[in-house]
Amino acid sequence: MKFSYKWLKEYVDLELTPYELADKLTHAGFEVEEVIQKIPFFKDVVIGFVKELYKHPDADKLSVCTVDDGKAQYQVICGAANIRAGQKVPFAKIGAELPGDFKIRKAKIRGTESLGMICSQAELGLEEHSDGIWILPDDTTMGLDFYDYLGSEQDYILDIFITPNRGDCMSMIGMAREIAAILDKQIRYPEFVLTETGGCTTAELISVEVQDVIGCPRYSARIVRNVQIGESPEWLQKKLRAVGFRPINNIVDITNYVLFEYGQPLHGFDLSKIKSKKITVRRSLNGEKFITLDGKERDLPAETLLICDTNEPVAVAGIMGGQNSEVHPETTDILIESAVFSQESIAVAGKKLGLSTEASRRFERSVDTGNTIKAMNRAAYLMQEIAQGKICQGYVDLYPQPIPQHKIDFNINELSRLLGASYENELVQKLFARLGIKVDDQSDSYIIPSFRNDLKLPADLVEEFARLIGYSALPARNQSTVPYSRSDQETGNYYSKITSELIMFGLTEFANTSMYGKSELQAFSETSLVTILNPISDDMACLRPSILPGLLKSAAYNINRGQKNIRAFETGRVFFPDTEGGLPIQPYHLGVLLSGKRFEESWNQPDDSIDFFDMKGIIEQLFAAFKYTDYSIKIQTPSLIFAQGEAVDIFCGHGKAGSFGKVRKEILKIFAVRQDVYAAELNIEMLYPLLTPVKTIFISIPKYPFIEKDLAFVIEKSVPSLELINYIREIGGAVLTGAWVFDLYEGTDLPENKHSLNIRLHFQATDRTLTDNEIDDIFQNIIRLCEVKFNATLRN
């Protein structure tokens, strides 16, 4: 919210500069986001007198002027249409410096010399845009320095962030009151005297009925007759403009002015439009419609608080007035409404209507119920002074259940308990007194002023105290009394181990959004997607059920920029809807993506493309890192993601923990990826109990050497090699410590449906050196049994 430094000074004496004040406020919980100097600095601009002028001989729109600054006369070219001889004007001399780093130099314009510039308000930084030069009053003194001349006009706008709990500071008086408390000064409230010359009482002209006392705890109203609608005086317009408000007419300006001054939203009705002479405050019924001040017809949400002319709505309470009762140029009698509406009713209605106004923003943060009469009278007084209004006697004030004085039981030990330092009672009371918080002599409590309805608990008073002595004055402690936490949850370590293993395998970690368009995700979800009710855009409307869409997007991004070799992974939560409508299921998944060449192009590396076995190797290595072997990899039933033939599922424990394989062309197309991609996805949350590292126990290294034997079986391609190896292991028994395929040969010398699997065997005993004889039996047995079982033949 914007505050005028000059305006604030009317209520509190300020010796501090606006910048020093801003710093104080920031340290007291009112963050000053910006201090704007109203008149930016300029120099060597004086008040000049346009002595005479004639048209430029070579340019219709330019005038050649003689400007007198009291000491000398200068020939100046001016392009403004509103320049006339005899005017007093701001005149920038040669060498003048104007805002925006603009220096005035001697110039020749269309062959005629110009020694300076006659300035507009915009050129002096006072307006965004000006039509023509700034014409000064005739009685200004020629030759005066113009920056000094404007000195009394100088102001600073403090843009202050008011936290939602401090609605009481959304006004000049509220902020001045706070500043007085912070700086230990006295506040000056405005003083004025009403003269009730309206000829009758307010109560004779209007009656008020409040049907919902919770929604409208207080309704005060007063009538001012015979006002003359017109423009507001200069001082009022200036003040409103300073805080960012556009003047409209004197009556509207006055209600806005009082809103800014007191923080009490007011509404001025044209009394003649309240035909029944009765104001009713009620909740809206289903299906009611209403045209607000801005000319829009609105469907009123049920239960919206309305101000009615008996039954006909004339305003949406606390939010916006209606077109039907608006003050217009012919209005003579004004009904000033000064009411308080509940924080809740305005917040709900404002949200439903999509309306946020100066009034509603204040009611949402709650308004002081003790302030309606003062603010109303202030407005009536100003209508009397400015709009020649005649104030009716007395007012209407419905306040059936006055809000009781609020007290907080407060033990001074709360300060040491929460702040870690103790303070003298005397100091505490002194600081509280500055905030208007007084000791209750009868009890151990403090009386809270009505405008501070944010203060409810002892902790709130602790903050008030801390705020006033300053957070920097509070102690810091480095030895906590809370013991170091037990770390029985190892999931964090588990996830970081997965990550660090993958990085060791040469994979780079990606971080992608969780939100995608429906079309990007559909294929990845077997069930429905978790969708956002109010998405930022359609392409951020659904939550990912898989890590792969993000990886594919990032792959496309890199490939399009010439980075075609990608080894990437990402971990994060994915989302599946809960069938009962509860929290979605949101496990951590790991996604891996490989694409391009296995190695960066180099003279000494093979030029191979990544294939299925690169991905399989990563998955196997990952499990190996956790010493986990109890998993199986099986051919996948056809899926939308992976290409048939190069797609597998990973089964662990009781179920499927993930899949990997070659990504289908149709999927690549969605993400505009134009090269082969292998991907894997694992539910790492499900794997957690299985992969939890078991305690490592040292196993002694075999003392006796192993014997190595090689075998080459010509075997049908359809026989899975793992079956053969497992069978060999079975036959080999305890002394066969290793068996693996070390080469695979396909060639024209072999039948088309067969290949040669070359298998290496290691035999080793823990208690002796094995002899060739011992092994030979086993070895021959292996050959014989495999030949039978797999229809394999030994290759020479």
């Binding site: 919980g29 809740e344 308990r417 902790a459 906590s480 009394t481 990085i503 990606f510």
Partner: protein, 335 residues
């Protein structure tokens, strides 16, 4: 004569130092041992030496000659070894590259945060990213019509489910599930209804911190934040605490670090204030303690937040948050 012998010996020692290649060696060999070499010249002048000292001097010349021969032959072996095979590899060709993986810079910073707090005895906690309205707002003292809800533009899944707008719901989940003392941080992803631009992303990352127990004070909060700042960004970093407002803390604080770009002198990044806003913190609000069944009269605690993306941007001088999530390899490989 003896001086001459000594001089040649010196010359030879110097020569030994300077020989670097086989051709050098050959030249020097001729200079010393050649038919008209220095040793030969010495032998020639032997005739000028008095008869009786001739055998002794002759012996000395012979000894020198022998020594030179031995040294040259050793040197020749050495040079032969050194030069052997030199021509067989072009050592200027690049080496065989290993695939190198990188931790995403954001997670590097998260790791650092976790390490720092772990060293201060904090445990890592976690919570769901889609939360109930209760955990994200209500339990944190933000009923439906609370104006503070406007400070956080929320993405809704249903009337009752939201994408969590902060990591604070983890506070509630942890406190509900156990008794004090508690000492946790909870890093994770959060969401806001912000259109992406250089300083906004609809999802970003925070870490919550929470310490609850008896005799936990604002002084502890200050101590922990100051200690974290020093470990994260260096001892010279100053921390500033300002009063603020959050519905779930009282007293509430906003904490700033002094600008890492201008060292607090004032620059464009810190809008000439010399300070950079980091995040909010405060003493856990009594209503929050009550909501989880603690006695606010006995138990107290502090909570704090921090923006992980923001710290990463500060640390690495990144000026556009969006680049963090583009996953351009040229970006990630820088860290």
């Amino acid at each position: 004569m003896l001086e001459q012998i000594a001089e040649i010996k010196n010359l030879f020692n110097k020569s030994l130092q300077e020989i670097k290649t086989l051709p050098d060696l050959e030249t020097e060999k001729i200079r010393f041992l050649g038919r008209k070499g220095l040793i030969a010249t010495l032998f020639e002048t032997l005739g000028d030496v008095p008869q009786d000292s001739r055998p002794v001097i002759g012996q000395q010349i012979n000894a020198l000659k022998k020594e030179i021969e031995i040294h040259f032959s050793e040197l020749k072996n050495k040079l032969n070894l050194l030069t052997a095979g030199l021509q067989s590899v072009d050592i200027t060709l690049p080496g065989r590259a290993l695939p190198v993986g990188k931790r995403h810079p954001l997670h590097q910073v998260a790791d650092q945060i976790k390490a720092i707090f772990s060293s201060m005895g904090f445990e890592i906690a976690d919570g769901p990213e889609v939360e109930t309205d209760y955990y994200n707002f209500e339990a944190l003292n933000m009923p439906r019509t609370h104006p503070a809800r406007d400070m956080q533009d929320t993405l809704y899944i249903s009337d009752n489910l939201v994408l969590r707008t902060h990591t604070s719901p983890v506070q509630i989940r942890v406190m509900e599930s156990r008794k004090p003392p508690i000492r946790i941080i909870a890093p994770g992803r959060v969401f806001r209804r912000d259109t992406p631009d250089a300083s906004h992303s609809p999802f970003f990352h925070q870490s919550e911190g929470l310490v609850v127990g008896e005799d936990v004070t604002f002084a502890d909060l200050k101590g922990v934040i100051e200690s974290f700042a020093a470990q994260m960004l260096g001892r010279e970093i100053k921390v500033r605490f300002r009063p603020s407002f959050f519905p779930f803390t009282e007293p509430s604080v906003e904490y700033d670090f002094n600008c890492v770009f201008c060292k607090g002198k004032g620059c464009r990044v810190c809008k000439n204030t010399g300070w950079l806003e980091i995040s909010g913190a405060g003493m856990v609000h009594p209503n929050v303690l009550k909501n989880v069944g603690y006695d606010p009269g006995k138990i107290s605690g502090y909570a704090f937040g921090m923006g992980i993306d923001r710290l990463a941007m500060l640390k690495f001088n990144i000026n556009d948050i969006r680049i963090l999530f583009e996953n351009d390899l040229r970006f990630i490989n820088q860290f």
